[in-house]
């Protein structure tokens, strides 16, 4: 099986590229390769975590996966009941139909929900716009999702601006659970939540995946969360997959030097620990540079760089069953 593939896929990304071209007055156009040749399949009921540093292309990839951003090249396919829908090219009625099947929980709960709405309305409006009109059904569905995301019903009367950050994030999750989507892109769904609520949200996602077969692309910067939440982890670097494999294996036996650096930098709760022992040997935000370096995109920051890395692009190689990394060390 090729890298990133899985049994019974519900969504397939094939050699996906998303480039942004920005043209400023009197300046030459620059191209940002936000996603650069990614192939990945997400299985029915599977949770796949996307990790990688700020600017590595996680959000862009998530948006392209559900058709909110058009691919520059490559293909996104939704597979349901043996029917294949080309998400990247969908228009009109097909596109509208996809909006219910493919959902996103936005990275930032502060801008994604109108703060001047009552919580109840913020849930009622999307339901009604998808044709659920019966008052009894609306209120039953809303009570149900509130329970599923663990928010007390009393909050329904509040305005969204009255909620704390974490409460807002959960309303965002409730909104996508209203429907019964095939796939949800959850963009940092737990980063705003305290530790004691993270577990709850992950359980909600697990349960939805198991009981309803909903697939999730779970974007997070937190490796500990990725491990708990997902069956597979894909590590993204400058728009490319650096490593992908079963969650436990990626954490316990990482191959790519970038994955290793991410793991080393993970915070611990012993004061000052990271200072002393966890000095990260990669640094700087190169993800912003518009021109990708030749060879391996990670080579300028790699502590183990070899000559070959500077000229040749490494392909993903299967190093143990289902566990792939793109690095010339292997």
């Amino acid at each position: 099986m090729p890298a990133g593939s899985t049994n019974d896929p519900v969504l397939k990304l094939e050699d996906l590229c998303v480039f942004f071209t920005s043209k400023r007055f009197m300046e030459k156009a620059v191209v940002v390769k936000a996603v650069d040749g990614v192939s990945l399949e997400v299985g029915r009921g599977e949770v796949v975590a996307l990790v990688g540093e700020s600017g590595s292309g996680k959000t862009t990839m998530g948006r392209a996966a559900i058709g909110l951003t058009a691919p520059t090249s490559g293909k996104v396919t939704l597979v349901e009941n043996d029917l294949e829908v080309d998400v990247g090219k969908a228009k009109g009625k097909t596109w509208k139909g996809l909006r219910k099947r493919l959902q996103i929980i936005f990275q930032d709960p502060f801008s994604s929900i109108d703060p001047n709405m009552r919580v109840y309305d913020s849930l009622k409006i999307p339901l009604q716009s998808q044709g659920v009109k019966d008052a009894g059904e609306v209120s039953r569905t809303i009570d149900d999702v509130m329970r599923r995301v663990g928010l007390p019903k009393e909050l329904l009367d509040n305005y969204v601006f009255q909620l704390s950050g974490g409460q807002r994030q959960r309303i965002g999750i409730a909104r996508v659970l209203l429907f019964n989507p095939a796939l949800v892109v959850a963009d940092e769904p737990v980063s705003m939540l305290d530790a004691s609520l993270k577990g709850d949200i992950i359980h909600i996602i697990e349960k939805e995946a198991k009981e309803r077969g909903t697939a999730f692309i779970f974007i997070t910067h937190d490796m500990a969360v990725a491990r708990v939440a997902a069956q597979r982890i894909a590590v993204l670097y400058l728009g490319k997959v650096a490593e992908i494999g079963p969650s436990d294996r990626v954490i316990e036996n990482p191959y790519h030097p970038y994955t290793k650096a991410l793991l080393q930098a993970s915070p611990t709760i012993e004061p000052g620990m990271r200072d002393k022992t966890k000095e990260v040997n990669v640094r700087g935000d190169l993800a912003i540079s518009t021109e990708h370096p030749p060879g391996c995109v990670f080579h300028p920051r790699c502590p183990l760089v070899m000559d070959r890395c500077k000229t040749d692009v490494p392909e993903l190689k299967e190093l143990e069953p289902g566990h792939w990394a793109s690095c010339w060390l292997y």
């Binding site: 540093e53 700020s54 305290d194 530790a195 993270k198 930098a265 993970s266 709760i269």
Partner: protein, 311 residues
């Protein structure tokens, strides 16, 4: 020496269900060049406290009791005009939760940074801007981009650069790194530490992430349901948290070696209908009769102060 101090601060939000007591008689202090953390779960009142201390509360939220002293002056008593002119951004700066939306969509990041500098009579050249961006590990080319052309973490860092641009005495940061990967997180925390050393800035860091606090701060407060339940030096706290809530918070921090995340069972109480005793009672594994009846005061326990009837 104490630089910024809240004394008996109470903040409420009137709602249809009654008054939500988001912050209830809180005492908090920040010393010169000190790095202090406020931890607590979602809804504990952390953001409200910070907004109240920096006069950034929006109605209907209001301070109903207490004072906020900065260099001994009660800044809550100043006129808006005085506060804006002499304190906001130049002496007291804040990076809000969700500040990645703090930028106006129609101007480039660079022009917005320049505007803030120019407004306060500072030099606003291209090289100042690129230096500012460099402090938060952002490439110069960010300056010519519009906010929507940045990733979430890039926007968050650009906002931190803006808050730092006027070299304030106090920087309050509310969840400054929640959406950032660990490498960038470490960079930001190291940056805050460095600023404290080099510029003598005092930092108040608000987060639900105890791991983050443990790396950064010298002293911390733990808030629960609007009140401070534990306060003390990091060393003592992390060696052995005293309050049952703090203990729960610490054990529920996700680690790389675990396959599950254990939460503290139960919910925060309704802040509009607070029970009379300790607010953590319904979730507390050690709850006693007295806990339901009386609110425990903060008491000295081995170098820390703890509000719990166990001590």
């Amino acid at each position: 020496m104490t630089l910024l101090e809240a004394k008996g601060l109470s903040i409420v939000f009137p709602t249809s269900r009654g008054e939500v007591k988001a912050v209830d008689q809180v005492d908090i202090s920040l010393g010169e060049r000190e790095f202090v953390g406020i931890a607590g779960e979602s809804g504990a009142g952390k953001s409200t406290l910070a907004l109240g201390m920096l006069r950034l509360l929006t109605p209907p939220g209001k301070v109903v009791a207490g004072e906020v002293l900065f260099h001994g002056t009660d800044i809550l008593k100043l006129t808006d005009e005085q506060f804006r002119k002499d304190y906001r951004w130049t002496k007291l700066a804040m990076v809000f939760q969700g500040s990645m939306n703090g930028f106006t969509p129609v101007f480039t990041i660079g022009s917005q940074l320049k505007e803030v500098l120019a407004l306060h009579g500072r030099e606003a050249s291209d090289s100042t801007i690129s230096k500012l961006l460099e402090t938060v590990d952002l490439d110069n080319s960010i300056a010519s981009r519009y906010p929507h052309e940045l990733s979430g973490g890039q926007k968050q860092r650009a906002f931190i650069a803006m808050a730092l641009s006027l070299e304030p005495e106090v920087l309050v940061t509310d969840e400054p790194t929640t959406a950032l990967d660990v490498i960038t997180q470490a960079t930001i925390i190291n940056l805050l530490k460095r600023l404290r050393k080099e510029l003598g800035i005092s930092v108040l860091l608000i987060t639900h992430d105890l791991a983050l606090i443990s790396e950064a701060v010298e002293r911390l407060y733990v808030m629960y349901a609007g009140g401070v339940v534990e306060e003390g030096p990091s060393i003592d706290f992390f060696a052995k948290p005293k309050h049952p809530y703090s203990q729960g918070l610490l054990t529920s921090t996700p680690t790389l070696t675990s396959n599950e995340i254990k939460g503290i069972p139960g919910f925060l109480p309704d802040l509009a209908n607070l029970p009379p005793g300790c607010r953590f009672t319904p979730r507390c594994p050690f709850a006693m009769e007295v806990c339901k009846r009386d609110y425990p005061p903060l008491k000295g326990v081995g170098g820390e102060r703890v509000a719990c009837w166990l001590y």
